[in-house]
Assembly symmetry: C2
Homo-oligomer: 322 residues x 2
């Protein structure tokens, strides 16, 4: 496989979307001027760290887009473009790369952004490094640092399913597969969904701080608290544990609540919202987006996390360097 | 080493430059609106493919910035921001990462851009994936596709030194080291310089097409010809062979001209310039930038490369997948 031939094949798949003056194939991509502030994020997916050896190229391509778009969504911004740095292992062939780019393209279409450039190399372990850029109206990006004591802690969707899917995959126990809940857990792991419309609604509805939950609720909530200089009292009983995970817990004895609290890769949004606005947002959220929005506690004066009874909660979760 | 502690250490080094609303540490960076079209590029540096095991962290960080900025320069654009995706091998410690980020920061300062975000992960082989964004006045980006028959082929600086440095490093022959020319070759390999001011001058001086020479003059010139739908007649005797490389050739029998024609990683600019403007640009170039600008041939009707005598030249160079 020659590099130039492969780049030409990739260009045929991806095309150039709206706002793209020059896409893949030149020294750099050229994009029309944006209408607001630029937002930009980079996320890595590394084999044996973020995914196993049996992942499909298409799933991997889609996931790389979703995890980056999730970071854009967490700013209350809209994604516009992506670049792809792809290190392929010596056994990968051109069709595998084209299939991965096909997954990237599918996900870019879903979230309305364009793949505009990138780089390819051989290497010892498969690595996907994606950068996604987006836009937000000036001064309207929702940071991690704006939560105030009294703000409610809101979370979209359900938690723990992706971590459950990872355990299910690692156990490789055929008797656990085949059910609807097993499929749902594996899907949560392989095909996360970025909450772009939900992020825009939370930003527009007055969120004072926001982030996506990628490394576990407790760890990410503790990061938001540190950035904002506040503490959090979490109503652990209100944390939305994924239904499929509860079924897995019943069948195989995993601790569903623990996975919902500290499992990674949920890509749900965690937001601080003033107490007056929180019920207004939550009331119509499921109807508007098909995704729940739950109140799981309150930001408080101080630092660190505690439960409703005041007992300290350890900020446990996923550390990519541990 | 904990991920959050390392990110905090990186934030202390990098700070936030002009135009950066939110830098490292949130879900995504936020940048002030640009004044023109956005330009964006991604380049990978992978251990055992792009560099050896004995590279210093600081050199690697500086090189990652330079090779990306070179792509921005080749559009006639100015760099503004960078993100860093860094996969570190299991033996790397926090001080190594901080040293690499120090190199990134040094190079960002040199080229007046800001490191605004990124991601870190463990992995089996050290990989640096950098994305750099820049700006160019609307409609003024210089693409690979604009060369016309009759345009002159211009090249900045001298060629082949980086490829010579790689060979020198691989030979590990102590008797060849220690001289000025050896230091110059190694430096060309480890510390390439991106031609930002030169790119702006070529764009302003009427260049119809431009790219940087990263994979060898012949291969990259053939790519520019393909994109423009033209051929090229190269005056091989005019190709600027690096002086240090000629000394290496004298001492160790390497083929200096061949390395200047097909060696990679020069990061000089290759431009098509109308015949009337070419001498005007070249006349004052060295004085303005301390870098030569040489006329090495002509774009012609047709396709492919030939020498001054009309003999076909094979577009040989560096393929990252071969």
């Amino acid at each position: 496989m020659r590099e130039d031939e492969l780049v030409a094949a990739i260009r045929r798949i991806t095309g150039d979307g709206p706002g793209v003056v020059v896409g893949i194939g030149d020294d750099a991509a050229v994009l029309e001027p944006g209408s607001g502030e630029q937002v930009v994020t980079t996320d890595l997916l590394v084999q044996e760290v973020h995914f196993g050896t049996n992942v499909s190229a298409r799933d991997l391509g889609m996931k790389a887009v979703a995890v980056n778009v999730s970071d854009i969504a967490a700013m209350g911004a809209s994604p516009r473009w992506a670049t792809l740095g792809l290190v392929i292992d010596p056994t990968a062939d051109a069709s595998w790369v084209v299939e991965l780019v096909g997954g990237v393209k599918d996900a870019c279409d879903e979230y309305a952004l364009s793949l505009v450039g990138g780089d390819l190399s051989r290497g010892r372990s498969l690595t996907v490094s994606m950068t996604v850029g987006g836009e937000v109206a000036p001064g309207r990006a929702v940071l991690r640092s704006g939560a105030r004591p009294g703000d409610r802690i809101l979370v979209t969707g359900e938690l723990g399913a992706a971590a459950g899917g990872l355990i299910l995959e690692q156990r490789a126990d055929a008797s656990l597969l085949g059910s609807d809940w097993a499929r749902e857990l594996l899907r949560a792991q392989l095909r996360p969904v970025a909450r772009v419309a939900e992020g825009l609604a939370l930003a527009g509805g007055g969120a004072t701080a926001m982030m996506d939950i990628s490394d576990g609720l407790l760890l990410d909530l503790s990061r938001l608290c540190s950035a904002s200089g506040v503490g959090a009292r979490l109503d652990v009983d209100s944390v939305p544990v994924a239904g499929a995970l509860l079924e897995f817990a019943g069948a195989a004895g995993v601790d569903a609540l623990e996975l919902a609290l500290s499992g990674g890769e949920d890509y749900e949004l965690l937001a601080a919202v003033p107490p007056g606005q929180a019920p207004v947002l939550a009331a119509t959220f499921t109807e508007r987006f098909g995704t729940g929005l739950l109140d799981i506690g309150e930001f408080v004066v101080g630092e660190g996390l505690c439960d409703a009874g005041g007992n300290a909660l350890e900020p446990r979760g996923w550390d990519h360097l541990a």
